[in-house]
Each structure stands twice: as C-alpha cells, then as structure tokens.
Symmetry: C2
C-alpha cells in the first residue's frame, strides 16, 4: 500500500465514497482521534448516509478493513508475468519504502492503532487474522513459484512467508512508534541479504 | 521479557509496589480496559498513594515504561561470559518463545497497545524511541563482540540490530493481533537461517 490506493481516488458508488472518506479521515486523525463526524467532513454525500449504514466508528472501520482486503486481493496479479524474485522485490518496495509521505505515514500509524485494537477486540482480531492470511498466501505463492522455476532454493514457503510478514510488520510498526526511516532501510538491507543467502538458488542456497 | 520479571515479584519500595500493580493490571485488562481504579485493585498499599503520585493512567503507564527500561538496562549483563552467538540466542529465546502463558500473552498484547499510543502521542513516541534505542544498543554490542572474536562475519552491526528488532517486534505484534504461535516459530526458523548464512563466520559468511 503506497500512496492513495487507486480504487479510492475515484469512488464509483456510495460504499466507495464512504471508504474514501474513512481513508482520508484515518490518515489525518488516526484511530484515537477518529469520529463518524470527522469521517463526514471528508464525505461528499449526505452525512446521514454514514449514520444510516454504520452504528459506530468501529463498525465502519471493520467494514473499511474488509473493503481494503477485497480491493487488495482483486489487485494482486494472479499470473506470473514477472519472475518470483522481482515480484518479491515489488512487495518489499511497497511495504518497506525508504521514506513516507505525510499521508502514507498517517495511514501507517492508523493501521498500527487498528491492529492494536485486536489485542482486546475479537472483531478486529478476526479481521487482521484474515488480512494476515491473505498476505501470507500471496507470499507463499511467490516463493512456491520461485522454487518451481528454479530461482529459489528448496526453502519452506510457509516459513519464509511468516518470516517476511513479521519483518514487514515490525519495520512498519517501529517506523511510526519510535523508530525512524533509517531503521526501515537497514532492515531492508538485511532482508535482501537473507533472500540472497538463504532463499535464492545458487552459491550455497538453503539445505 | 519472559514470565513475571523478578524485580516485580518482590517489591521493596512504594514505587516498586505501584509498578507491580500496574504490570498485573496491564496483563489482566490491557491498555484499553485499564483504569487507575483497576491498578488499585492489585495494589497492596493505600490507593490514595496512586492518585497522589499520578494524575491519570497515561502518566502512570509512562512511568511504568521508564521503570521497565531502567530495570532492563540494569539486568543486561555487561560482561561477556557467554559467546556472542549464545547471547543472541538467549535474546531470541526470550523474545520469540514458541508459546506464551496467559500472563505473558496479556502483557505482550498490552505492550502492542501501548506502542500504538505512540502513533498519536508524543510522550509515548519518545518513550518507545528510548526503549528501541536501548534494545538496539544491546544488540549492536553483541554483534560487535561476535565480529571481534571472529564468531561473526564482517557484517554491519547497526543493520543487523535494526533487522532483528524489526523481526522481533513484528512477530510479537502479529502473535497477539491475528497471528498464532506457529507464525512465531516459523519466523524464528528463518531468523536462525539468516544468522547461519549471513551473520556467522565460516562457510560463505557475509561479503
């Protein structure tokens, strides 16, 4: 998730307009500062529509997370026009960029806050479990393709995917909660070393 | 941070008693469910002491984080009785255990919630920046020792430390927000592969 996701730039339905307003309000106010009122300030249609569809901000945010997940799954190319290594690079470039715009930083911080809701709220935990599962399956598929075409060594795709998800999550979390951009860049350097030495076939490769 | 930290088991001062009560209340109620009232329920002395010292729960929690940091720094052995690889293993064993007790899981979830406060609250951001810096320096020192005694290849200690902090943070965060124990165990497997192939001197090592 880089800049404003394209499916939010030009909403075509009331649902998409609500999701766009939620995204913009999250970027600006974060979770703690969010109210349905503030989402309404970014909403181009009648605010009564918001109250009509959603009882409180958590119900709206859970719908937003579900919407983001659906859009993400629809946007992941199923075919493999590119090689596995390039596809993995594309994911890492998107998730561990060297710097963030204000909008992207605001959104990342909001996602960290939303994820923390999962610590105590079963609805958020289920939503993030689904999110993690989708991202995990995307990574597993890339690694499996790489093993099949001989680009990658005979690694365990499940382990590699879990590991990459953990690194990405941790770098994003630390970036907005005490860390800095250098921490992300340094993390990426070592992820690349891991991919070179452990995952890629060739000089050494995994056992 | 494994089970109940030893310095909390047997409080010797009012401050330590307050910190112990805060720890127990955090484990049980998390951040969102925490109130000074609930901390008072775990406090053995007069509750008026709590209100006397701290205006609200955030002030008390920031003091708690500072206390944990001081205790952690005091408990890290400065000398190197063990080798660098063993010390790194000890840190990873403590931070990425294969399973968590209820108390430890409650505390981990609370720490994820507290870290999310840093997304919008400068005081928490400064506190976690200090926490991250201390943990980073601990890791850098271990890696430097390993390079010096020839156990580790000529890696960049700063990068390795940032990378390990990211992995640990991400695995902990995912564990309590949608992931499961398997995700942590798989992450650890690949961290060990990284340490073997990239960090340890010998067959290949880093360039």
């Amino acid at each position: 998730m880089g800049e404003t996701p394209p499916f939010l730039a030009d909403p075509e339905s009331t649902r998409e307009s609500i999701m766009r307003a939620t995204y913009l309000a999250l970027c600006e106010h974060g979770y703690a500062g969010l109210t349905i009122q503030r989402i309404g300030e970014s909403f181009e249609k009648s605010k009564s529509l918001l109250y009509h569809h959603y009882d409180d901000k958590d119900e709206l945010l859970l719908a937003f997370l579900q919407f983001m997940l659906e859009q993400h799954e629809a946007s992941v190319p199923k075919g493999a026009e590119e090689g596995a290594a390039e596809r993995l690079d594309t994911v890492l470039d998107a998730m561990l960029p060297p710097s963030l715009s204000d909008e992207h930083e605001g959104f990342t911080a909001a996602m960290v806050e939303l994820r923390a809701q999962a610590a105590n709220d079963e609805r958020y935990r289920e939503q993030f479990a689904e999110h993690d599962r989708a991202f995990h399956e995307q990574l597993v598929a890339v690694v499996e393709d790489g093993i099949e075409d001989g680009t990658f060594a005979d690694v365990d795709p499940e382990s590699v995917a879990q590991f990459l998800s953990s690194v990405i999550n941790g770098a994003m979390t630390r970036r907005v909660s005490g860390g800095d951009d250098d921490a992300v860049t340094a993390t990426r350097t070592e992820v690349d070393a891991y991919l070179d030495r452990v995952v890629r076939a060739g000089d050494g490769g995994a056992a």
